[in-house]
Symmetry: none
Subunit: 222 residues, 4 copies
DNA sequence: CATGAATGAGGCTTCATTCAT
DNA sequence: AATGAATGAAGCCTCATTCAT
């Protein structure tokens, strides 16, 4: 009589009976709201998303957003600040970083389904604090922690350039969807270039670039 | 009399000076509205900008926006599509491209004064068509025209990656403002890296990267 | 089963003390809700008080208000009509009435703790019926019953003026808190004036006032 | 210049043609909104009045309230603070004060049409500052300025009691409308009593009351 | 050419209230 | 007996937009 469970068992083998069972309906609603919010904020930005939109996606009344999160703003902060997307990077060995980033972006055209927290923030320019939080987060993660692991000079600049590289590629591929990058066919090529670029910035010799690279000089060691 | 923004009528030769000065106020107003709109849309996004804001910047009534442009949406399209920012690139010799991009970004923290068309679109993501227009524009400019000038294989991917690189850097520097890139001190270093990266993607040998770049191999062609 | 109609409140012999203390929590909750409601309605008015506020004060769920009283409106009527504040007056000998009123008001700055029923109604003026009920109550209590005990002409006018006097003083003292009346220092003086005024209206000679009181004549009959 | 008073051409002969003619429609709307607001705030309190109600009374859209006053709160302050009702009192000779007050209240059952600012504040308990402003106003007007004109001791208490008396009577008559006071028949009697009461408090001998009033005597000046 | 008045839709938020447990 | 989830209506306010001058 009371099995409200099999709502959208989207995948397969939805935990036959070992499910935490009684998942209070509230929890489901809360999670669903956050999902919908993450999607809409990421896709349409803070201002372009109405609370009613979010609630509508979940199929509940907009008032629940206030019951569970207090305000639209609070909900936004909830879904836009727990990025942690880059945290695992700290445990990735340096020579696997290229792969890691590559993998991160490779699965990207899911952007449409679930946009980057970074993109969410970029698209929500009315939230000034959000961009501040993002800066803090990235600074701590890359400019500080990750750069500390890089050998050679200018580690901080290199670390940030690396993120810039990844971020830009991600945008072009997932959001703007320029044809060459968005196309699945070029997946291999694209990954190789990405990896190469990342490696250049990570390897200690990269610093040499800055020495030899004078006007117009391209980067070949010759 | 009070010029709100440093309008910077950069095009020169506007109003050959013999014009009765105060006369073509209609045209002046129109232009001023577009300037203000470009700034606000870029800085605060479409949803974060009200027609009254724009009119207020210029010091006229909001109704004028409708007289001149028909609607907020029309005004937005007007100022967000005639970017042409990248057009000059077509005339830049290949071996100066790195410099050109470098210069483009280097002056970047003007972002605050006049934001990237790309950022404008990102920040106005509730306008679905805008992103489409941007894609068309970039595709035409880079994936087609610029890529055609590149030798070697995978020209299109390389062209787009190049833009991604520049775009990402620009965002990190101007919008997110991570410390290493935003700091003026690192200006030189940053430019050298940027140039190096661009050159790698432009030079025909770059394509080789895709061949050699297997696991962990860094990118030095040597 | 549960007729929430049986009031049976302020009398004695409620719960002969042998009750298992924590037991009749239902009844306790009911009473607590009414207390909280009386306070909040009086202090913040009907519109300024939310059902959740009341329930929150008692520490129970807002739904209980509906279980016990049916609606916010019903609860309001419940607590705003059984005032009975003036009932004891009927048993007060005429020559003690001044004292009685004086005492009633003197302890007044308790207004903050528990506001006048009159104030409750004034502050809930969106409830039209409430003011009607108050009028009925006052009419019955003063214009009819109390006036009947007054000798001399114009008893009804005098009775109502007496209440007006007390009511006004109470408001100035407790609610508006003008300095001279609200200050504890003037307590004695204030009480004497109040008593004097009340006596004048009660004493049968008061009626003469209407005869003598033409221009400028002051009121001392003595 | 042109008094924008003749709104509510309730009577007849609405200024045939000598009207200031082109009275900018805005001014009319503004004034009408203030009138409607004064009425509704006074009758139903701040919380019991919706902006739409007010606009509806005037027959315009609610947005105009914001155009002209900025917010509901601002509108409330506008209509609730310009009392000045008591200001003329300062120029009234002492021996006419009774008449003045009498006249003030006598025309009272217009309360329904246009309630006292004092009542407005009393009925809007959610506006804490409003009651503060009222206290300031009354303190200044009565406790300070008016009391200064009274001879004899305890001038401040007497001044405030006088206002209390008037206020209470006004409430009973206009708002609660108890039968004896509200009835037009008793108008004369009521006025005489009122005048008498006022005179008692004004006349210097009034202070003597406190000496003689030993009925139930506490605290006689001894 | 330009303005200010006016509107209606929609956004965020609160609240009384009901349903299911 | 009591709770928490959920709802729909309404409130304040902003905004794009039109109308009349």
């Amino acid at each position: 009589m009371n099995e409200p469970k099999n709502d959208r068992t989207c995948g397969a083998a939805a935990t036959p009976d070992c499910t935490p069972a009684r998942k209070r309906s509230a929890e489901r609603t809360r999670t669903a709201l956050m999902s919908a919010a993450a999607f809409r904020f990421g896709r349409y930005g803070y201002d372009g998303t109405s609370v009613r939109d979010i609630a509508g996606d979940v199929g509940v009344d907009a008032a629940l957003v206030y019951r569970y999160f207090g305000s639209k703003e609070a909900l936004f902060e909830r879904v836009s600040s727990n990025s942690k997307v880059f945290e695992p990077l700290l445990d990735v060995p340096l020579d696997c970083v290229a792969d890691w980033f590559s993998a991160l972006i490779a699965g990207e055209p899911k952007d449409v389904d679930f946009p980057h927290p970074v993109l969410t923030v970029l698209r929500s320019s009315s939230r000034d604090e959000a961009i501040g939080r993002l800066r803090e987060e990235m600074t701590d993660m890359f400019t500080r922690q990750f750069a500390a692991r890089l050998e050679g000079p200018h580690a901080e600049v290199r670390a940030e350039l690396l993120v810039a590289w990844v971020l830009g590629t991600s945008l072009m591929r997932g959001t703007i969807q320029t044809p060459a990058l968005a196309s699945a066919e070029n997946q291999d090529v694209f990954e190789q270039f990405l990896r190469a670029g990342v490696d250049v910035l990570i390897s200690p010799e990269a610093a040499d670039l800055s020495r030899e690279a004078d006007r117009g000089g391209s980067a070949e060691t010759a």
